[in-house]
C-alpha cells in the first residue's frame, strides 16, 4: 500500500541508515506535518517516536504552588462538554487521554503503555484499526482501577446523541471494543491515515465509567461529577468555581515516577489578556498566563521587568481574508450572498489577484503581531518548515494597479476604478479585536492608493462567530465582500480543515447557514482533490493531494493569508513549561517543573 520510494525511505529509517529527523525533514519538504510524518513511519513499520521528556526532578512533590492565570476561566470540567479550549484546559488538569502531543508533534504516552505500531501489532496494515495497550496499575483518584471498560464507556457515552457531547464527531463513526482488561481496539469504517484522534489529546481525555455510567444520554447534565472531576491525572480535584477558580493538589498515587512536581495547583480566571501578562511577566504574582494576545510592543516593555517572559509555540493557525464568491448585495429568494449569484467584482480573477498584492503581510507582522506572527503565502500552515513550497506572495501597489489597468478597471473622476459602470467598492468585515482593526486599516490604506474604495466594518465577536440564524452579521451569512478571521487548527492533520470548502458544504439559507463553506467556493477540481485525499491511504500521495488543495485555494485567491499565528503564553522565568502548538496548554502539565 505504500509508495515504493517512501517504502525504501522507511526501510532506511528502520535499519538505521537514515535518521528519523532526516526522514521528517524529507516529509516536511512535501508539506507534511510532524505528527503525521511520525504516524506514516508507524504505518510503514517503524514505531512512532516517543516524545522525549526533559523532566529533571528526582522526587515527587516539593515544588510548592503552581499558579496559573487563565483570563477566560473554565466554566465546566467535563471534557466531553467543553465548549472551548478553556474548558478542555481545565478538564485536562484532572483527566488524562491515552497519549498527548509534545512540541515537535511526537506522541507522548499518558495512559497507554506503548505506541501502536505495525511491529507490536497495534496498527493494521490497511489503516482500518488500531489497538491500544493500557498502562497497568493506573488508579482513578478515588482508588478504583482504570481499565479498558472505562475507554469503551467513553466511546458509548460520547457517541450517544442524547448525551449531546461535543466530542461526538470523533466517536460516532468508529467502533471501540474491549480485547481484555488492558487492551482496546478501535475499528474505523474506512482507512484512516490519522488514527490518533480518539482518546488522544486534551479534548479526548477519558472520564471514569463508575461515576458517569448512570448519567449517559439525556441525564448527562445531572451528573454531579461534571463539576467535580475524579480523574487519573497528576493533580487531584479540590475546588471549582465556574469562571473564577479551579484548585487541585498533588496526587500521591500518580502513575508516572517522580511526578508531579508541584504540591498544589491553582487556575484563576477572569480579567483580560494585558493585565494577565502584567501579573505574570511584570509583577510575578502568577507563574503562567495562557493565550496572551497582546501587542508585541507591550510584551517587550513588560519583559524589561525581568520576572517573566513571553513564550511561543508553532501550530497551524492562519489569519486570513476570505473573498465572497457570491453577490452580497443582491437578494435571491430572500437570501443575500446566494449561491445562485456571482460576485460582480470578484468574478474577475484580476481583481482577486490585485487584492492579494495589496495585503502588506510584512507590515502587519511588524506593526501588529511581532514575534507572534509569520508571513505566509499558504492557507494551510504546518510548523515552520512544513508548508507548500509552490506558492509565493508579494506586496506591490504598482503591480496591483497595473494588473487592474490591464484588466480594464480604469480610475474614474473620484479616483475609484470602474469598469462597465461597476465601481471597485468593497465592504470588509471582521470581529472586534485590536489587531484585526489595525490590519483592516493597513489593507484599506493600500487599496486606496490602488484606486479601490474599501469600507470597514467590525462586528462584536459574540455575534460574528455565532450560529444565530436571525442575525445578518455572522461570518457564515457573509453579507460583505471580504471577511477576516482565523479558524483554529485543532488537529495536526488537515482533513477536517480542508473539507470545509467543498461545494456540498456551501452555506445557504436552506441549510440555515450551517454549511461550513462560507466563502461559497465551488470548484469541481477542488472537490475531486479532497475526495481523493480522503480515500487515499498512501501517505505521500495524500500529502501531495492536500498541498494541491491548498494551491488551488491560493491560485483562485479564495483566501488571502494574512499571517501564520503562533500561540503566545506568558511564563515566569524559572518555570519550565512544555507547550505544544498542536495541543492544549495543560496537555504536558505533568512534565512542568521549576528550576532552582
Amino acid at each position: 500500500m505504500l509508495d515504493k520510494k517512501l517504502r525504501s525511505m522507511i526501510d532506511k529509517v528502520a535499519d538505521g541508515r537514515m535518521d528519523r529527523r532526516a526522514f521528517i525533514q524529507r516529509m516536511a519538504a512535501v508539506g507534511l506535518t510532524a505528527p503525521l510524518a511520525n504516524q506514516i513511519l508507524a504505518l510503514g513499520g517503524v514505531a512512532m517516536a516517543e516524545g522525549v521528556s526533559t523532566y529533571k526532578p528526582t522526587k515527587r512533590g516539593g515544588g510548592g504552588a503552581l499558579k496559573l492565570l487563565w483570563w477566560q476561566g473554565p466554566t465546566l470540567l467535563n471534557p466531553h462538554f467543553a465548549t472551548g479550549t478553556k474548558d478542555q484546559d481545565g478538564s485536562r488538569l484532572f483527566y488524562e487521554p491515552l497519549a498527548c502531543w509534545d512540541p515537535d508533534g511526537n506522541m507522548k504516552l499518558v495512559l497507554a503503555a506503548e505506541i501502536p505500531s505495525i511491529q507490536n501489532g497495534g496498527l493494521a496494515a490497511d489503516g482500518k484499526s488500531v489497538t491500544w495497550k493500557l498502562k497497568p496499575g493506573v488508579k482513578w483518584h478515588d482508588g478504583k482501577p482504570f481499565t479498558a471498560d472505562d475507554v469503551v464507556f467513553n466511546w458509548e457515552y460520547a457517541k450517544d446523541p442524547a448525551t449531546s457531547a461535543l466530542t461526538i464527531a470523533t466517536y460516532r463513526d468508529i467502533t471501540v471494543e474491549k480485547v481484555d482488561d488492558l487492551t482496546v481496539r478501535i475499528l474505523f469504517t474506512k482507512p484512516t491515515p490519522f488514527w490518533a484522534d480518539p482518546f488522544v489529546g486534551a479534548p479526548n481525555a477519558i472520564i471514569p465509567k463508575h461515576l458517569f455510567a448512570d448519567y449517559k444520554g439525556a441525564k448527562s447534565r445531572e451528573a454531579p461529577n461534571n463539576l467535580s472531576p475524579v480523574g487519573t491525572g497528576p493533580y487531584k480535584f479540590v475546588e471549582f468555581k465556574p469562571g473564577d477558580l479551579v484548585r487541585g493538589e498533588l496526587n500521591p498515587n500518580y502513575h508516572m515516577p517522580n511526578r508531579p512536581y508541584f504540591d498544589t495547583l491553582e487556575m484563576k480566571g477572569g480579567g483580560d489578556a494585558v493585565s494577565a501578562a502584567r501579573a505574570v511577566i511584570q509583577t510575578g504574582e502568577y507563574d503562567f498566563g495562557y493565550n496572551i494576545q497582546v501587542e508585541d510592543d507591550i510584551l517587550l516593555r513588560l519583559e524589561k521587568g525581568g520576572k517573566g517572559k513571553a513564550i511561543y509555540a508553532v501550530g497551524g493557525d492562519t489569519e486570513f481574508i476570505a473573498l465572497n464568491s457570491t453577490d452580497p448585495n443582491t437578494e435571491v429568494d430572500g437570501e443575500r450572498s446566494s449561491i445562485k449569484t456571482k460576485h460582480p467584482l470578484f468574478s474577475d480573477p484580476a481583481v482577486r489577484k490585485a487584492l492579494s498584492m495589496l495585503v502588506d503581510r510584512e507590515s502587519v507582522k511588524k506593526a501588529i503581531y511581532g514575534r507572534a506572527g509569520r508571513t505566509t503565502a499558504n492557507f494551510l500552515n504546518g510548523p515552520e518548515k512544513f508548508v507548500s513550497k509552490n506558492t509565493s506572495w508579494e506586496f506591490s501597489i504598482e503591480k496591483a494597479s497595473k494588473l487592474l489597468d490591464d484588466a480594464g478597471w480604469k480610475p474614474g473622476a473620484d479616483g475609484i476604478r470602474e469598469k462597465d459602470g461597476k465601481k471597485l467598492k468593497l465592504l470588509y468585515q471582521t470581529s472586534i479585536n485590536g489587531p484585526r482593526q489595525k490590519t483592516q486599516a493597513i489593507v484599506k490604506q493600500a487599496c486606496q492608493k490602488a484606486g479601490i474604495d474599501v469600507e470597514l466594518k467590525s462586528v462584536v465577536a459574540s455575534v460574528f462567530f455565532s450560529s444565530d440564524v436571525g442575525n445578518p452579521d455572522t461570518y457564515p451569512k457573509f453579507y460583505a465582500d471580504m471577511e477576516m478571521f482565523q479558524i483554529p487548527m485543532t488537529q495536526p492533520d488537515p482533513a477536517q480543515h480542508m473539507r470545509r470548502y467543498i461545494s456540498a458544504n456551501v452555506a445557504t439559507k436552506e441549510n440555515k447557514w450551517q454549511g461550513q463553506n462560507y466563502p461559497r467556493y465551488v470548484n469541481k477540481e477542488y472537490d475531486a482533490v479532497i475526495e481523493a485525499a480522503e480515500g487515499e491511504m498512501d501517505p505521500l500521495k495524500r500529502v501531495a493531494l492536500y498541498i494541491k488543495a491548498n494551491d488551488i485555494l491560493i491560485g483562485d485567491t479564495v483566501f488571502i493569508p494574512v499571517q501564520h499565528r503562533l500561540k503566545v503564553e506568558a511564563a515566569a522565568n524559572n518555570l519550565v513549561c512544555i507547550i505544544s502548538g498542536w495541543a492544549n496548554e495543560t496537555d504536558n502539565l505533568f512534565d512542568w517543573y521549576r528550576e532552582a
Binding site: 477566560q72 466554566t75 465546566l76 467535563n78 462538554f81 465548549t83 472551548g84 446523541p161 449531546s164 461535543l166 466530542t167 461526538i168 464527531a169 470523533t170 447534565r221 461534571n226 463539576l227 475546588e239 468555581k241 465556574p242 469562571g243 473564577d244 477558580l245 484548585r247 491553582e266 484563576k268 477572569g270 480579567g271 483580560d272 493585565s275 502584567r278 501579573a279 509583577t283 504574582e285 502568577y286 521587568g305 462584536v460 459574540s462 455575534v463 462567530f465 455565532s466 450560529s467 444565530d468 436571525g470 442575525n471 452579521d473 455572522t474 461570518y475 479558524i487 483554529p488 485543532t490 488537529q491 477536517q496 480543515h497 470545509r500 441549510n511 440555515k512 450551517q514 454549511g515 461550513q516
Partner: protein, 319 residues
C-alpha cells in the same frame, strides 16, 4: 404601618412581572447564541450544535419560553446555565460573598468619608476646608474607576510592590493572617470604588445640609443656647438626611450587583464579573436571573427608604 408595607409589596408584584417580561423579551431578541464558539470549531458538526439548541429549548417560541421560565422561577428554580451546565442560583451564591465584601466595604468607606466631610463643609461654607473638599470631590467623580484602578495598580502593585494585582477567592492561611491578607487584597478595589462614591456623596450631603442649616428652626435652636454640635447633629442632620437616605437606598442594589468595571480590573469574582462574562458568552439564563434579582432589590430598597422617611421625620405619615 404594616398595612402600608403589605400594600406596597402587593403593588410590587405586577411591576416585577412587567420588568421580567421586558427583560426576557429583550434578551430573547438580542443577537448571538450560547453555542457561538462551536460554530468555528471544525470538530463539532453543525447537527450537534442544532441538537444542543433544541435540548436547551432555544428553538421554542418566545412566549412559551417565558411561561416556562416564570413557572420555574415561582418554584424556586432560577434556571440552568448553558455554559457551566449548573444551576444559576448556585453560580450566583458562589459569587455573592466577594461582591458583598468588596462593594459593601466600599460603600461604608464612602459613607464614612462623605458624611463627616459634607457636614463639616456645610457648617463652614466657602471656608478653606470647604474649597479643598469641593475641589477634591470634583476631581474624584471626574476620574472614572477604570482609570484610577489602573493608576493604583501601576503605583501600588507594579512600582511599589505593596499590594497584589489579582484578587484571590481563597486566601491561604488561617486566623489573623487570613484576615490581614483579605484586607490587603481588598484595599485597592475598595479605595477605588469608595473614593469615587464618596466624591459625589460628599457634594450631595453638603448641599442637603446647606438647605436645612438656613431654616428658621435652626436659628431658634441656636437662640435657645444649644451648643453647635447638638444643633448640627440633632436638628440639622436628621432633617438633611432624608434625600441622602434616598440616594443610599438606591445605591444598595448596586452593592449586590457589583461593579462591573472594577471587578474586571482587579479580577474580583463578584456578580458584576459573572454578569459581564455571561453576557459575552450569551448565557441568557444567568443574565436573566442576575438582572431580575437587581430589579427585585431596587423595588425592595425603595420600600425600605420610604419606611425610613417615617422614622427620620415623624411628620411624614405612611398610609
Amino acid at each position: 404601618m404594616s398595612q402600608y408595607v403589605l400594600r406596597r409589596l402587593l403593588i410590587a408584584i405586577p411591576s416585577l412581572l412587567g420588568i421580567s417580561l421586558v427583560l426576557f423579551v429583550v434578551l430573547a431578541m438580542a443577537p448571538g447564541d450560547p453555542f457561538a464558539e462551536l460554530a468555528t470549531n471544525p470538530n463539532v458538526p453543525p447537527e450537534v450544535a442544532a441538537a444542543l439548541r433544541a435540548k436547551f429549548g432555544l428553538d421554542d417560541p418566545i412566549h412559551l419560553r417565558y411561561l416556562h421560565w416564570l413557572s420555574a422561577m415561582a418554584h424556586g428554580d432560577w434556571g440552568f446555565s448553558f455554559v457551566s451546565r449548573m444551576d444559576v442560583d448556585q453560580l450566583i451564591l458562589q459569587r455573592l460573598p466577594a461582591t458583598l465584601y468588596v462593594i459593601g466595604s466600599a460603600q461604608i468607606l464612602a459613607l464614612l468619608i462623605a458624611i463627616p466631610v459634607g457636614v463639616y463643609a456645610a457648617t463652614k461654607p466657602y471656608s478653606l476646608f470647604d474649597q479643598i473638599a469641593n475641589t477634591l470631590a470634583f476631581v474624584g467623580f471626574s476620574l472614572p474607576t477604570f482609570f484610577t484602578g489602573i493608576l493604583f495598580i501601576l503605583i501600588f502593585s507594579v512600582t511599589l510592590d505593596w499590594l497584589p494585582l489579582v484578587y484571590t477567592t481563597d486566601v491561604k492561611g488561617t486566623g489573623i493572617r487570613w484576615v490581614l491578607e483579605m484586607i490587603r487584597q481588598a484595599i485597592m478595589p475598595v479605595a477605588v470604588l469608595g473614593l469615587f462614591q464618596a466624591a459625589s456623596m460628599t457634594r450631595f450631603v453638603r448641599s442637603a445640609m446647606l438647605d436645612v442649616i438656613r431654616l428658621d428652626y435652626v436659628t431658634t435652636a441656636r437662640a435657645k443656647g444649644l451648643g453647635q454640635a447638638k444643633v448640627i447633629v440633632k436638628h440639622v442632620m436628621r432633617n438633611a438626611m432624608i434625600p441622602v437616605v434616598t440616594l443610599i437606598a438606591l445605591q444598595m442594589p448596586a452593592v449586590f450587583g457589583g461593579a462591573i468595571v472594577t471587578e474586571q480590573i482587579f479580577r474580583i469574582p463578584g456578580i458584576g464579573s459573572l454578569l459581564i462574562s455571561s453576557i459575552l458568552a450569551n448565557d441568557t439564563p444567568v443574565v436573566m436571573a442576575v438582572t431580575f434579582v437587581f430589579a427585585c432589590l431596587v423595588v425592595l430598597f425603595n420600600l425600605i427608604a420610604d419606611v425610613l422617611y417615617g422614622w427620620l421625620d415623624p411628620r411624614i405619615s405612611l398610609r
